[in-house]
Symmetry: D3
Subunit: 271 residues, 6 copies
Amino acid sequence: MKLLVINPNISDDVTALIEAEALRSASPGTELVVRTAGYGVEYIETRFESLVAAGAVAEIVAEYTRDGASIDGVVVAAFGDPGMPALKELTDIPVIGITEAALCAAALQGHRFSIIAISDRIRPWYRDCVERFGLGGRLASIRSINEALHGIASVQQDFKATLLALSRQAVTEDGADVVILAGAPLAGLARELRGQIGVPVVDGISAGIRMAEAVVGLDSGPHRAGAFAPPPAKSRRGLSENLDAALTTAQNAAAHDPARVTQPAAPAPAN
Amino acid sequence: MKLLVINPNISDDVTALIEAEALRSASPGTELVVRTAGYGVEYIETRFESLVAAGAVAEIVAEYTRDGASIDGVVVAAFGDPGMPALKELTDIPVIGITEAALCAAALQGHRFSIIAISDRIRPWYRDCVERFGLGGRLASIRSINEALHGIASVQQDFKATLLALSRQAVTEDGADVVILAGAPLAGLARELRGQIGVPVVDGISAGIRMAEAVVGLDSGPHRAGAFAPPPAKSRRGLSENLDAALTTAQNAAAHDPARVTQPAAPAPAN
Amino acid sequence: MKLLVINPNISDDVTALIEAEALRSASPGTELVVRTAGYGVEYIETRFESLVAAGAVAEIVAEYTRDGASIDGVVVAAFGDPGMPALKELTDIPVIGITEAALCAAALQGHRFSIIAISDRIRPWYRDCVERFGLGGRLASIRSINEALHGIASVQQDFKATLLALSRQAVTEDGADVVILAGAPLAGLARELRGQIGVPVVDGISAGIRMAEAVVGLDSGPHRAGAFAPPPAKSRRGLSENLDAALTTAQNAAAHDPARVTQPAAPAPAN
Amino acid sequence: MKLLVINPNISDDVTALIEAEALRSASPGTELVVRTAGYGVEYIETRFESLVAAGAVAEIVAEYTRDGASIDGVVVAAFGDPGMPALKELTDIPVIGITEAALCAAALQGHRFSIIAISDRIRPWYRDCVERFGLGGRLASIRSINEALHGIASVQQDFKATLLALSRQAVTEDGADVVILAGAPLAGLARELRGQIGVPVVDGISAGIRMAEAVVGLDSGPHRAGAFAPPPAKSRRGLSENLDAALTTAQNAAAHDPARVTQPAAPAPAN
Amino acid sequence: MKLLVINPNISDDVTALIEAEALRSASPGTELVVRTAGYGVEYIETRFESLVAAGAVAEIVAEYTRDGASIDGVVVAAFGDPGMPALKELTDIPVIGITEAALCAAALQGHRFSIIAISDRIRPWYRDCVERFGLGGRLASIRSINEALHGIASVQQDFKATLLALSRQAVTEDGADVVILAGAPLAGLARELRGQIGVPVVDGISAGIRMAEAVVGLDSGPHRAGAFAPPPAKSRRGLSENLDAALTTAQNAAAHDPARVTQPAAPAPAN
Amino acid sequence: MKLLVINPNISDDVTALIEAEALRSASPGTELVVRTAGYGVEYIETRFESLVAAGAVAEIVAEYTRDGASIDGVVVAAFGDPGMPALKELTDIPVIGITEAALCAAALQGHRFSIIAISDRIRPWYRDCVERFGLGGRLASIRSINEALHGIASVQQDFKATLLALSRQAVTEDGADVVILAGAPLAGLARELRGQIGVPVVDGISAGIRMAEAVVGLDSGPHRAGAFAPPPAKSRRGLSENLDAALTTAQNAAAHDPARVTQPAAPAPAN
């Protein structure tokens, strides 16, 4: 199995952290291709930065799927899942965000979970992500480092004691059954903290790799109907060559699939 | 008051429909600047198409705010509100989507509302929008045209009887107190249907203009703290010149605001 | 456009505050008629006081609509919206509460909002209002003055520092993106606080005026079907002359409307 | 135990139905005082009619509690619970609506329940009531007679077959575990239908009497703090003599209660 | 009326507390049979302990219903309602848990309620119970004793001051309108605390007895269709003799009921 | 990695179906131990049958963990997840139900999902499971075979056309982005249907195996605090020898863990 792992931030040193943890987490037989966003910001903390990153991630997904997928699955490796779930429309292979992966990994190990984040500003966006995934009712808290960072790649080293303390507070004060260490800059830290905070600790990158392996392994079949089928063919202009080619490929695959099913016809149930 | 109205689709004929209804709806003294997306698709039906459109809308917002806002407010004129609410971070002036505007206009006139859409595929994305805005509990139904369109600019002409029938079904079968005609291609149709379906009919474009006027008029002050303050200054690369300049402008405005308030320090409440 | 603005409290000095801010907020061309409740309490803090006020507000709405509406819209100018949304059934013109207006104004400017109130007792009722409007999921907090008031008309003067501090706590501790200053006794204070607390500040009275203008301007059409059509004609007794006449007028208007649509026939969807 | 049972409608023949079923349902030792609203409409179908009825119910509660409660509990005997929960503030004895009573009786006998109503128009208001009580997630459906009524007192006779069919549809099509026959005009019908529709059948009046007996029997103590304590003493004018006296009595009882507790001081949790 | 009251814990001294409060609470004419779980743990604090207790409670219910019910109703007398609502399938008589009974008693007396518990560990399970019953939106807080217990039967004596303080905090800090003293070990304490904390105080055991009396009195009819009808007859093995006989009895009663209604045929509504 | 797979039903032929699909799904290097419930019913359709099965599953988990875990993880292989999440308290290794696994697999591949079930009676219980897991907002529908089964092991053969039709209806009428084939008797059918219904198809057994592999692989650490730590040591009696030993083992492991963290001390947040 070959997974494309995309760092939606432009920071190469964070990509190195991601790659290291991804390699530690991958099952035997899983091959990894790790890429850094072609444009964007050093690390994503806001809804707008995520919007920008979404475009950059789409370009890389398109590059690897434009002539048919040369990979088996994609892991979007920034907490907050820039571009998700929209990116699932672009290709027939599974595209998994590390947030949704971590939420599933946490939800399978306890009932309520907390998220530990590297900046205060990042919290409302993370909360949005949990609510959009539908698990807002199981979120115990989001706690975050409340100090200026010295550098994005050294966060887990610089604030190890703080991160441990925040994790323990999530358990003892907020009622978390599981703690998620959020964000690629914390990749690998869970290995150090586990066993020290009283509950299972989930790393986004590991969860992303393991959950992508699981979903790719299930081989559930592509979207030919419904909201995640490729976008309908229509006039478009000004897209990058990769994006344009990837859309055409996806639309052709759907158009020529003998099992293609027509769209829902009944009124959408309101709730 | 000067409002920038952006068509996130690339279709100039839909821009013409938008402009016509916007002009009919605007209060005396409101000046309009109407722009079409520089790249993208003919009309947005899916989450991925919305993601692409979000980038195109951001470019236009940036162009008009990069050297300080030369306008008083922005209306994002595609149902589904591509790029929202992220775009609110990019500038100190109000940025309003026509979906959120229509939802407010409907919510102030009844309890439950339905949305009439031009394609089946579009419904899940619209439903997402209502749920993300927080009013999912008041959505009676989303009903849509279930036929191939002949052309995006003639939808309201080609399917007038269908759209009237769908609207009436929303009232008599789904319990809608208000009906929203969704999507820029239906701009202006509400003027024809009102009085024929038994409940108030809301047009997205009109609602966008009127609600933007109201919010601009309130002059509530800019975001200097919280989730909609400008993104923190940090390394970035590869953004368009407009976007880069607009971010710098926003960050400078925030940095030099004497009333700037520091970020929240307490753990985010879970729910 | 002519708006009827009703103070559901019996306090004339609060009516003066309302009128002053309403005049400052109204667009050119908007004419205001401001009235005080004919009976009730000095200021409404509880569900029961709101029930009493609802009756008093209904009388004034009836007075101005009993012979056909001599006005274009109504603003119910007490936070908590006494009598809403029931009062929307009584007349074909828009009837807007300042709470629902403020919630829309806040929701269009950020994601989560807090409400600043003048008394502890008032908070559960306010919370009910937010939840009934459907935006409970976006409420960051309700904070309130926790001291005895010296007089209802001087609250904003007497507690300015407290109100500023509560607003800032809502931002820094509760994660509010927007702050709503609730209650007619605080009318106008937002003009002083904006720019001082880091996020947009919404005044209920201004929001009520601006949102009423917007909705009246949309001219979406009357309710002839659904839950906000005039109550069905039937035996009644003991109502005030105004109320009786207003109901008859509304029922006649509906009965003679050629576009009258019959009621929903299908089972109500459960959720 | 002496219960005051109030018909919020002005129809004496419905009062007779209520009284008959209330007498059949009451435990030995329970004495009933049954009263009809002094003003209002023949039967309540809308939010506005409920608002009017709320005032009429308040007057009767006030009459029986103005000099100290001469009764042990109150049953508000119209589905939709006009004036509730506000009326709980007016007196130290339990005031129970038949809707909330029926919801509890249903919720204790199954998971999901349906409501059978006598008119289409009435459904949105009933649904509001279920949602406000907090059990909207357990509502399977609301089904209703879709024909003009011949007379409010003969509904259950005139439409017996329809009501049986609607009840069965609720079970077989909507998944109801329990069926509630809603509205005082259906009082007593549950006795005939039970055993015929496959699930427990709950009558609003019986449930109101039995639940009021249960709550009165619990003797849980009065509200001296929180949202249901008597409204704070303050200037008021224009209330009826009964209402004025009842408020004064309630306020005095609270003021002189040695166990009186001060109001909450902390910020209201947002959710 | 004869009620079977089951202590799902194995502690006989808690059974004595339960019996004493049940006798104080029962109406004249209500006869009680009180039983202790045949196996299990001293007191239930966790989901797993509740799972074990559910089996023990089922055995006792089966014993009393295996040859047709020799009783009129069952009260499951441990907070958290082990085995509920599943146990309602096992017999045609009402089976009521003290949690669901207390929630109804609280919900009929105020809007938001808090629960006071005897151990920290117990809180997540209690919270689950409230959410599963559907009233999570009305839960103000769960507060608990945060110290090791000296003995389960003396908790209310040993920690009276703590329990009073926790109850008052629920009112003044969490906004509770009603306080529920949770757990059989606190049976009877509400009689001492009422009048001291400012809001009504609900005892689980009293509520269980009173609500069971009310529901038994309503005589709403058995489940012959839907989710609470007896389980369909099918191969089974290894059940206890009592359970086997009780299932057979329930299945026979359903099979021979002339009013038996077939199962729902339509797709389950999603929400 | 060695996984214990438990069929909570007593039907050995369904165990064979489970084992076959589990073997097809397992990754290289995963060893399986498959066991059938020691007592219970042929197949679980109701809440009560699930309660009985929970006990039987607990016995098998206890048998394999009583002297320390001789396995790496457990898969509870009946849709509806009998005994979950309580069973997670009993051992330090992951215990995963096939429902929660399938929900995660579906949620990672689309937004809304439908469940196809083998009997009408089973639907309310399945719906409960989805709601308890927290993903009720993403459930499009539950559809089921509405005919008597000829035999539990031949369901997928006997009703293949029906199951295909139900799956397609879920997509075209209910808006499902993913379809889950629920229940061990359908094990393996997804392999035949995928590609025929337009959206990804998820098999509970495959999902259970793959998700268990992923979670075991993450090695997140045991519960020493919070709601899933082993139950506190206390008096107990009458448990089976296996269960008693397993509880003792779990409690000892927790007691001697140097990283053991004390329980939460703060009040549980209400929501």
